[in-house]
Symmetry: C2
């Protein structure tokens, strides 16, 4: 899966392919990383403060603690985790999740599923329906090579298209019904429409019904645990009733997947639910920190912020502020804005494409040009989607560089 | 620069490296494109409506018209264009700009400069200061290999660092003074501080002063031509005065670069300005369309929207709306939101990570699941930064696929 490569040899190997990579200077450029793109794990041993910036970092202690917390919680609650790889897009993190007991991973796009399956992640539930002939054929080819690939559908027409494509490809495709929790975004209406779709799948040649999913994205960020729990259970109730109807009809309900990081300790209360499609819990971000948890109504402390961006101050000559090298192209413009780690009395803005802005208001420290600082990301999913690699850090040492192999796989 | 590759051979070549690429099905996946990453131009001939989605498309007729309009305008106004490659990150577009008379290109990051110079773009002005030893050394190595590379500085300390690094590298580095237009983001204060920095550069060993730059990002999107012109000229006046002071001191002022797409037909009124660092004019976007121009105060019609995202409808079963496959990871969350091309009575939202939302309000048409539609991008720079390639389209035929070789080069 990975290979050990001393830093010196790595830089020399990379230097052969690119201009301007002196072995005497610390740091890795994106160009260097791209020249190593065949590897998805590269061993390293340097200080994170030596990294060229902007750099996306994941703290291994925090990541591992988050995976452990999730796994012990869902186990205690009698369900499983099926983490969503749309968040990390990184085969190495998927491996870690499976090694710790997750029953599989989810992907949002068929391109992500291709990457994960090709990288040895063998249980993949694609949560979005494939509706074009091209994508359906890709899904069926995946199914031919990878028996652990499961796909979703949310209309009878699409189920018939899948059936025809499965027969043409000579495969039996495992299919779940995507049930709408009320957002009217994807999924079929729960109750009779969903039941009838499940019955149709059960009868169509080339398809094997394996259950249902119901992802309630709209409940994940509801502020306050009590309000979030109430909304979640109300919105999952029709899906649970659908599950009951499917069970009573003798249909296969081995999978009832749903939920997310904001509701991971609520979803098991919905009858029938088998696993949570949690994504952000691995990294956390400013958006999730703000929702509050069961033990702290102001800050969501169940998981630790593990994902940060290292950035360098480019300009410190104006009063009350500084300019950094991490703007919208490195942080996105999602809000709440990135949070400066370990400091108080300052705020960060990444609204400008190329530059971040630090604003001081009774700051715990100020920065000079060339100084580096670390910010907790605003919204982990789209931030990860900006980077080709992330640096795996423990106690401020970079232990490895992980390729974000499914970055940009929106198709 | 590119190579001709019939589509069938391309798909076969790509198919050897990836799973699930049937030659009988139309479309290119990101995985396919990555397997061709060594080429930055691939010839093609398919309908754009056959592309897998989300897909980033550039209309060649519109792009070429935009480049022609810019070049004829700046020529008429007695200045030059030095387009900013931070917008397109694409060597092929940089080549087109130089072929049509631009005197060079700009880059925001040293990583972008490396990519452009390595791809044969020989005149590159890096508009951001390099402040860390690693980036300064990269810049000096670029200078050793590429005599057309110019870099910016905005403090005496940094100028001294550049001087030391230039001497250590055995090069003479061309340097411009970055002057702040009042945004206090980057650049030194105009007037005496800027003059003294210029004089210092002129005296430091290893450096050659070649002029100044002053980029007024804050004026580019001022609504209405009159207000924009007034603010621009007021904010450029101190830079022009700095230019005069440098000239009177006998300093080299061959470059005075500034301005952008919103002010390209205003900037030449600032005394001394030699060229405009225009970027978005090549593509346009919903943000620039909204600023109004000299002939139309509501819509900025000087340039044509050439950059679009093709997207597919995934769900059409709910009243008054549809869900597409292009959300925040394909469109960003910049506003104004993407505009559905050629249609009225509907709006688009890309606030959700994976999915776009079409909202109908007396729509010119409605869409069924599987239908494709095209949206004008919200803000071109960060949207381009999400994609590894763009499709070059003329009359709805894909003529070529261009690699966005500097995508993600935020460092």
């Amino acid at each position: 899966m990975g290979r050990s490569l001393p830093r010196r040899r790595f830089l020399q190997a990379a230097g052969a392919a690119v201009v301007g990579v002196p072995t005497s200077v610390k740091g890795f450029t994106t160009t260097e990383m791209r020249s190593m793109a065949a590897d998805d794990v590269i061993q390293a041993d340097i200080s994170k403060w030596e990294l060229d910036t902007p750099a996306l970092c994941v703290d291994l202690d925090a990541l591992e603690a988050n995976l452990a917390t999730m796994q012990s919680t869902v186990t205690r609650n009698g369900i499983a985790s099926r983490p969503h790889a749309k968040t990390h897009k990184c085969p190495q993190i998927a491996r870690m999740q499976l090694q710790r007991g997750s029953v599989g991973i989810c992907t949002a796009k068929v391109g992500e599923a291709e990457v994960m399956l090709e990288h040895g992640i063998d249980q993949v539930l694609m949560t979005t329906s494939n509706v074009t002939p091209f994508k359906i054929e890709r899904a069926m080819r995946l199914r031919r090579f990878y028996p652990g690939f499961v796909q979703a559908t949310d209309t009878p027409d699409n189920a018939r298209d899948l059936s025809a494509a499965a027969q043409a490809a000579g495969v039996t495709a495992d299919v779940v019904v995507d049930v709408d929790p009320g957002g009217r975004r994807t999924g079929i209406t729960p109750g009779q429409p969903a039941l009838q779709l499940a019955q149709l799948i059960d009868q169509l040649p080339g398809l094997r019904l394996v259950g249902m999913l119901c992802y309630d994205g709209g409940s994940q960020h509801v502020q306050g645990f009590g309000a979030r729990r109430a909304q979640t259970l109300e919105r999952l109730a029709p899906a649970s009733e659908t599950f009951n109807m499917m069970q009573r009809s003798g249909l296969n309900t081995e999978i009832f997947s749903g939920g997310g990081t904001g509701t991971y300790n609520i979803d098991h209360e919905a009858h029938g639910l088998t696993d949570v499609q949690v994504g952000s819990y691995a990294f956390m971000d400013a958006q999730y920190l703000a929702i509050g948890g069961s033990s702290d109504d102001e800050v969501y402390t169940d998981f630790q912020p593990s994902l940060t961006i290292l950035t360098t101050v480019l300009n410190s000559q104006y009063e009350g502020r500084a300019t950094t090298d991490a703007g919208a192209k490195a942080c996105t413009i999602n809000q709440p804005w990135p949070i400066v780690k370990g400091e108080t009395g300052m705020s960060y803005r990444s609204g400008s494409d190329e530059f971040g802005t630090l604003l001081y208001d009774n700051p715990s420290r100020t920065y000079r040009t060339g100084d580096k600082l670390e910010v907790i990301v605003s919204h982990c999913d789209p931030v990860v989607n900006l980077y080709d690699q992330m640096y795996a850090v423990r106690n401020d040492r970079v232990e490895a560089i992980w390729r974000i192999a499914a970055r940009g796989m929106s198709a």
